[in-house]
């Protein structure tokens, strides 16, 4: 190969490598988890969520997870929720997972809610911590609601997401009030990550599973 050919080959190699690096960086920067907007407008919006024992698809099909319903009624595997500022947000959680139990029973109480918290239409004041499957907690807003798990022996339990209302579930409804605009994290306080030390790894440490962001806009 003559000199011009070698220069061309090296230049082409460098250009290819640069293109790969650029593609990787741009893809990384453009990759944002899906966000799901609440239905309704200020001053009253609604969020609909479900929890499932195992997601059923990649990258972690056996991880426990939250899902959110978008305004078109489709279940989305995403935990970035968008709600209006200075509003009452009513959350409906279809709870398909069985109980794990709280490590700290304190989170069995309801905190930061407005009005009654109902489980299958019945108002309750606290939850036996051993019956908790998950919590929906926004610590910066002082909100924490334990979610009662489906009985271990319940029939027709859901194995993979998205689950449907014909399958065994508990319906938990509560409301909280948002304040000023901002981004707040939310999380589960139940150590529900099966297969991880003390249940605190994997999905408990991952956005999109048992952790999310509440975008108050």
């Amino acid at each position: 190969m003559n000199r011009a050919g070698r220069v061309l080959a090296v230049s082409a190699g460098i250009a290819f490598a640069a293109a790969l690096v650029t593609y990787y960086i741009v893809s990384y920067l453009m990759m944002t988890p899906p966000s799901v907007a609440a239905t309704g407008r200020a001053p009253h919006a609604r969020l609909t969520l479900q929890t499932v024992a195992s997601l059923g698809f990649k990258p972690h099909p056996d991880w426990v997870s939250y899902l959110a319903q978008n305004p078109q009624g489709k279940w989305v595997h995403g935990t970035i929720l968008k709600v209006p500022a200075h509003s009452l947000v009513t959350v409906t959680v279809y709870q398909y997972d069985t109980a794990t139990g709280l490590r700290n029973p304190f989170w069995g109480g309801f905190h930061g809610t407005v009005g009654p918290v109902t489980v299958n239409g019945k108002a309750i004041k606290t939850l036996d911590p051993s019956l908790a499957s998950h919590t929906f907690a926004i610590p910066e807003l002082g909100v924490s609601v334990p979610l009662e798990g489906v009985a271990d022996k319940a029939k027709n339990q859901c194995s993979v997401a998205p689950c449907t209302l014909s399958q065994a579930h508990n319906t938990v409804v509560f409301s909280f009030r948002t304040g000023k605009r901002g981004t707040y994290r939310w999380q589960c306080f139940v150590p529900c990550a099966a297969g991880f030390i003390l249940g605190f790894g994997g999905p408990m440490q991952s956005l999109g599973y048992m952790d999310g962001l509440l975008q108050v806009v």
Partner: protein, 289 residues
């Protein structure tokens, strides 16, 4: 071949050391009062508690002691650049440097005196003059307040990713917000129920590791009402950076009122809390095992 060199004639050499010492003394004499009187009252962590006040005093003293050292380095540096700068002529080797025993002895003695004096002063403030230490001392603290039995005991429980607080003197009520009475001795018992956290109540002068199954004791005596920030100072997982709260030091009456309202609000859940113990490490339920 002839090596280029500069011949030094019988010229009058100024007293460089004397000049530098004079400049150093003047600058230090200006810097130290400025640090103590102007900067000191603004140094962290404030005087909300006796322990925080001691820490501010320590920070002021250390900064004031550091000033002459920093000034000496800077003076020597700047003086050398300005005065010993070579102009145009070729550079030749200087005279060889040899050991100077009096200077070395003085240096070792001087630095040893500073270090030993600081150690003695630190030990005195920690143990002898102490009302306790804001730093976690483990389950069997050495530096304890003289009237420990009067302390308000607060158990601090770290968990991914929040702090909760138990008050054994108030029926073991647990809260997710911290209020403390002013002019009161407080005894923190810091622990964790998952991974290692670190309870850092900045303005209180408290920093104590929260270790699962361990009771880490720290003391403070509140002196001024106000807000204080609480952070986790140990990387503890996804939301470590969000493990942030604001607490309050309030009047004794306001504290009684607050803790009473917390007891009322938490009454439905109180029966599920475990008996108060020096650590908080409940047996994992079901799947969590």
């Amino acid at each position: 071949m002839t090596i280029p060199h500069t011949e030094v004639g019988p010229v009058r050499v100024p007293h460089h050391w004397l000049r530098m010492v004079v400049i150093w003394a003047v600058l230090s004499a200006v810097a130290i009062p400025l640090i103590v009187l102007v900067l000191g009252p603004h140094l962290p962590p404030g005087r909300m508690t006796s322990e925080a006040g001691s820490q501010r005093d320590a920070n002021t003293l250390m900064t004031a002691l550091l000033a002459p050292i920093v000034v000496s380095v800077l003076v020597f540096f700047v003086y050398s650049i300005v005065v010993f700068r070579e102009h145009g002529t070729a550079i030749v080797d200087g005279p060889p440097l040899r050991g100077h025993v009096p200077m070395q002895t003085a240096w070792v003695l001087f630095t040893s005196i500073i270090v030993v004096a600081l150690a003695a002063w630190g030990s005195y403030t920690l143990i002898v003059s102490s009302h306790g230490s804001g730093g976690g001392q483990g389950p069997d603290p050495v530096a304890v307040p003289s009237h420990r039995s009067h302390d308000l005991v607060v158990q601090v429980i770290g968990q991914q990713w929040s702090w909760t607080y138990r008050f054994p003197a108030y029926n073991g009520v647990e809260t997710d917000h911290l209020e403390l009475p002013n002019n009161s001795p407080i005894e923190f018992h810091v622990t964790s129920l998952d991974v290692t956290h670190s309870f850092w109540a900045y303005q209180l002068g408290v920093k104590a590791d929260a270790v699962p199954g361990v009771d880490n004791v720290a003391f403070v005596h509140t002196r001024d009402p106000g807000n204080f920030t609480i952070r986790c100072a140990e990387l503890c997982g996804l939301w470590h950076g969000h493990m942030f709260q604001t607490g309050n030091v309030v009047s004794a009456a306001a504290f009684k009122s607050w803790v009473g309202s917390e007891q009322k609000a938490e009454a439905p859940n109180l029966r599920y809390l475990p008996r108060y113990g020096r650590s908080y490490f409940p047996v994992p339920f079901r799947r969590a095992g």
